[in-house]
Subunit: 190 residues, 6 copies
């Protein structure tokens, strides 16, 4: 039996939710085969649910970044913030989209020890610096992304994914969101 979606706020009954939330949750459940707990947790506040997932959808749908690149940034950022829910849930997505069963554990532990290309290392260095020391990010850091071959829009998006998960990680900590059991093992087969 899986854990509750979160421990610090009540999880609303899906039947009581506004139609658009219920529909999104149904779609996610159908796609994954289970309901990722972040949807149940965010349903506590429907206006936040809508905005949060609209932003997330934009990050993964409207971007020149490959989906695996998005998930790599998510896992490295969430590892830097020690966020259990995001490390485990997006660890699964990272393994699946990158078709790389070891990558998420490497990125969550220390992106410097991960088996990634030089370009992706630059991308992750930037995301982790923006996470840990935003005040120290300067033109030089942005130039390093350009030098690694990223376009202007890719740079905006790399920063945006890292920034968004600095929100997401803190919401997961606030609510003590618990990863679904399924996420711990998904995508671990080579």
């Amino acid at each position: 039996m899986s854990e509750e979606a979160m421990t610090r706020f009540p999880v609303p009954d899906t039947d009581d939710l506004p139609d658009d939330l219920r529909q999104r949750i149904d779609e996610e459940t159908e796609r994954a085969g289970f309901t990722p707990n972040v949807f149940e947790a965010y349903a506590y506040k429907p206006s936040h649910f809508r905005a949060f997932f609209a932003y997330y959808d934009a990050l993964v749908d409207d971007t020149p970044l490959a989906r695996e690149e998005v998930e790599m940034i998510v896992v490295a950022t969430s590892g830097a913030n020690d966020c259990l829910y995001c490390v485990v849930a997006h660890g699964a997505l990272c393994r699946i989209y990158a078709d790389a069963p070891k990558l998420a554990d490497q990125l969550a532990t220390n992106h410097r020890a991960a088996d990634v290309s030089t370009e992706h290392r630059a991308m992750l260095d930037f995301a982790v610096k923006l996470t840990e020391s935003p005040e120290a990010v300067t033109e030089e850091d942005v130039a390093a992304l350009r030098d690694a071959g990223f376009s202007q829009e890719e740079i905006w998006d790399i920063g945006s994914v890292a920034a968004f998960f600095n929100l997401s990680n803190r919401m997961a900590v606030l609510a003590d969101m618990r990863p679904n059991d399924e996420f711990y093992t998904l995508g671990r087969d080579a």
Copy 2:
């Protein structure tokens, strides 16, 4: 003459924007008497613009927190992250909504030195800890908010405002967003 909205990405011409963005920018310009640069900057990527401001609207419109409380959290969080745009722009909003011309400078510099009530001090301690050490936030920190009299939804919202500005601060740093000249002085008269 005010500075450009941001230095690291091109600011699109308002005329070229989708209708909903142009309409929102027009409304904001009418309300403020000038166009806050964050709107011009975020217009670089319309899908992000929509999600970002939908989230922001939910935070300030759909909450039992007073607007001045929201702005106090924003300024303390942005001060902790050393984010120029958010400190200056929301410093103005904080002064105006709290009708307190010295409050924003106090919160941006060090919330522990600000003239605030015991309850607001607890609220700000939580927001700053969630900002600086999210990994160390535990049940005890949440209990301190409850002890200070905040309701469950207020606690969700205090955390949400801090979390959202951890996104916002990083986007402002990424793009090097520049505060409008007006924000530096708005609300400084007692």
Copy 3:
């Protein structure tokens, strides 16, 4: 195909090793079904190999702590130090000895978010503080372990396991030891 045992120093051919090292490696290989890379890596310097594993053997064999407790401390310590090899290899051992397929990912990410008893939380708080801020450990921290019910020898051993992996994590980083593929998945089935 698994990665090399480490990238920064040459891995000696097992046939060229002193008898006692070869015998130990054979035993470990038989037990695990594969040769954990830390043995191949430490064989670079036989005198260090002997001392390192003698210490490790004492920590797991000569202690009132349960083996699962030892591995919990190892994973939390290694997570705090962002050490890939130890997180992945001892993550597997932690899952197996604790018969808890989710525990290692929780401890490696953030021990405060792990499903553990109050006593184990105290044990892990101590290990992580000794890891991150040894200079700040005082009598109060030791008293908290006593209050949680740990005996004098258990306290010595909790500290010793954490201290030893502060050595081990740094050797793995120095040599860039790579976890065997097997460790990523071992013990993940409930």
Copy 4:
């Protein structure tokens, strides 16, 4: 009168110790003219005593590093970890082996202010970084040692000494080991 060897665990009576421990303690006492407290302290747990000193012996006996280099690394590492026992006891050894009465105080306070060669500065920079930020040590740091002229085995040993004293410093803190009075003054005459 010298202080007790440690304050948090009982120091066993030497007569009750296993022969090999008693013999080692006798040898150390004869060599130094007094019994260094680390031996009395570690005798609390004979299996750890044996492994700890076997590792230490390997570090100082089986290495191309000069003994004074080993002690320089020990003092800089222990200073970075604010470890009283190791700073004072190995400070004495550092003064003696390097025949440099001011060196240990310089290294313990700030290795950047010490009178050392460029090569030794590189060695100490590496040891202190491995101590303070192991997660950030990368190929570049190892290359800096190579550029300074250190051989592969010397690099392994520089890292090993620093890593071992990250164990040792934490054991001394755990047990509150107290330096013998003699160590404070040994080797201070030019």
Copy 5:
């Protein structure tokens, strides 16, 4: 009505002060149009008052640095230390001497986001590093000032201003000195 000069120590009645203190306070009051609270606060201990302001006078009067440069260093240093009194009081002086109404808010929040010349950026980088990580300041950092064109005496003075405000910031925190209301708004008109 302005706040008390400080909350943690009694502010002496000006009439009871030694003549030289009363005279200095009168001069400052005449110059500013109000009595800056730091004078009232430091009057708690006349011997410290005399030494503190003698040092301050030397820093601003006996230096090849422009007064606006001194105040820029003061504000960046005080921002790095989160010191309310110094950020607000010297923020006013910075705006006035640099004739730059936005500069102080920029420097107090994050000197990297301030509109300053390359030379002043180097000056502020040095001051902030000397403030936050004095142990890590090395010859390279001093050389960067030389490369930016600062003379030997200017380098001494840049460091001295930063060092002095590391004293001043801590005294303001100790006493909880409160900025006069006037400082919040002085010099904000373009």
Copy 6:
């Protein structure tokens, strides 16, 4: 032969100094039997020399604190800032005034491991917190000093000594001041 007084600025010839500086240096030389390098170094800028030593004189002469208490604060503060000159020079003064040959090494390494009374531990905890995290010092910290029995003026002076050495440590680092050889050994005999 002792080292130069400092490496980054020229040390003026004593004969060329203003009379008051020369007289002070003569007095210090007579008292100590050698010229402490801080006097030679500060003579680089006579106006700073006068103010610096006037402040220092006030701290040690006009205070209810015992001189040994002043020196204990100096050494703990300078140890926290890793300042070689102040640790070594004031370490000697601390040993002499406290008549405690081991105390300075303990305080410089880690004041938590020093043999001091509960009251002095509270005093040093405050000084080190004011040094390392001035922004986090609050009423509670000041209350802890009061609870330990310190008077209002003693609290001002404890903070003042720590604050002044936050200036002094940074000047010593800036100039790379070198401790006189004599300071390393003075006061080490029981």
